[in-house]
């Protein structure tokens, strides 16, 4: 059982949620992402209360409005980088936005890797692909779960910069859950769970 304080994050803003292991950072993230349902309280995204949605409606809402970047990037192993990103657009909207996926990947410096399998990329590159995937549908909310913990300093800052920059660009509220001290120094808007 976890209890969380009220958390607000506006569009274009970045909020860092920090705390030690076991305080419920990931649980909070899953609540925000509609993967778990709260026992009490409300989760409001873009003026919509999502707690009471049916499973199917929640899946749909999540696909269109929430982007997730996870600690370890998981991919459809059998799909290429480009297809992985395009799949996200298809699942959310029913359309494969190939062009947009290409642009986004090129924007993230992955133009040369479009037709490779995810497993052929480095960890840093994989993390950037999952950012592209999370942003393809221009979500209202971008959730990042320890996005930098498996990256070296250079890549960690690169990813942090990218996330912040893209959140502004896409007018997305960005919530990063982390215990990475490098990020704590990087972002000022922080909430610490305990």
């Amino acid at each position: 059982m976890f209890a969380f304080p009220d958390i607000v994050c506006n569009e274009g803003e970045t909020l860092l949620v920090t705390g030690n292991s076991g305080v419920g950072k990931t649980t909070l993230l899953h609540l925000l992402g509609g993967l778990l349902r709260p026992e009490s309280g409300e989760i409001v995204i873009d003026n919509t209360v999502i707690n009471s949605f049916s499973e199917r409606k929640l899946d749909h809402f999540r696909g269109q409005n929430i982007g997730l970047v996870l600690q370890q990037s998981h991919f459809i192993e059998a799909f290429t980088v480009l297809e992985n990103v395009a799949l996200a657009s298809w699942l959310a909207t029913g359309k494969q936005k190939m062009e947009k996926a290409k642009q986004l990947l090129e924007h993230l410096d992955l133009g040369n890797h479009l037709h490779k399998l995810p497993s052929q990329l480095s960890v840093g590159q994989q993390q950037r692909v999952s950012i592209a995937r999370a942003l393809i549908n221009e979500p209202k909310l971008l959730l990042a779960d320890e996005p930098t913990s498996s990256l070296d300093d250079e890549n960690a800052f690169k990813v942090a910069d990218l996330l912040e920059q893209l959140a502004k660009e896409f007018k997305t509220a960005l919530v990063i859950v982390t215990h990475d001290s490098r990020l704590k120094e990087r972002f000022s808007n922080q909430i610490s769970l305990s």
């Binding site: 499973e55 899946d59 999540r62 998981h74 699942l91």
Partner: protein, 404 residues
Amino acid sequence: MIGKLAWRNTWFKPLSTVLSIILLMSSVAIITVLILLQKQFEEQFSSNADDIDLVLGAQGSPLQLILSSVYQMDAPTGNIDYTEAKTWMQNPFVKSAIPLAYGDNYLGFKILGTTPDYLAKFGGKVEKGKMFANTFEVVIGSEIADKLQLKVGDTFFGSHGDAKEGEKHEEAAYKVVGIASKTGKVVDNLILSNVKSVWAMHDVHDHEEGEANHEAALNSEEGKEITAVLIKFRNKMGIVLWPRLIAQNTKMQAASPAIEINRLFTLFGIGLEALQYLAYGIMLISGISIFIALFNTLKERKYEFALLRIQGASRFQLLQAIIIESLVLCVIGFVFGTILGRVALLFISKSSDEEFKIAFNPLEFVWDKEGVLLLVTIFVGLLAAIIPAIKAYRLNISKTLSNA
């Protein structure tokens, strides 16, 4: 897109996919061969026995009599006396009686002494040339004309008995006077002459010194023998009465093709059934193989599934992905199995054609039975997919991701 996902996943781990497909393919191939064999075998057997109610022949195995005289597949049971047979052939019960006399062969093809009715019974006609009328004139079946490149007017020497390497009758040559139309039945692989030719050939052989008696002997039917008589009754009571009547009053026997073939089918029906069980057993194993393959990848792929859900895939779409994947395997296995089965039948047909002059058509489709086979295959696929699919359906995304 879900279909594409399933398709890609199928080939992402090709080894287990190929194993599943090979297993399915084998079972489908075996069953396909069995289905086609059974159907075409029965068809061939019954069509060759059309219009034959009873076969009159020498005592011995009734099955052998039927096989030898109707299907040309076995050695004759022996000879019967022509005059004695004739009394039965002229019985008022009898609608038609076709005598058969085996003597020689030419390069393994039997030369059969009979009447023109024999060819007519199979719905055959003389396509080129004319029907045999005189001694040593023959009409050859269409297959023989093809295989041996014989034409009207050609002559050849027969060999004694039914072995290719038998002693040659070089005293008198047969002359091809006609070529029969194609019937798809045993007559396509026979050389037909009149009964007298068979007698004459063996008289020539036996009486080489006594030239004087020769002509006289040939024209008398006294003491002449034939091999069997194909009988069609006017009154079907004959089928029931004659076998006993003939067994009691003569040294001959009368056998019914219908009864004997039925017996034969029951005999190797057991073998066919056993093979069928084997094939379904293999199919079951392939089902289990697909199940294990799907179940194993499920563990590795639960993140993939969680990922799909995060991106807005419904639980139903995950269910779909797994079922489609299994069905893809099944359909591929079925298609290849159907093809493989037909290739196998082609080879079976080749060897059975050489040995028994029975050919099978691999391109025939037995829609109802093969349709059922397809349904069974798909059912196996669904069954194999159902547990993995339900597991994927019930996947708890939050838990899956937290354990990452």
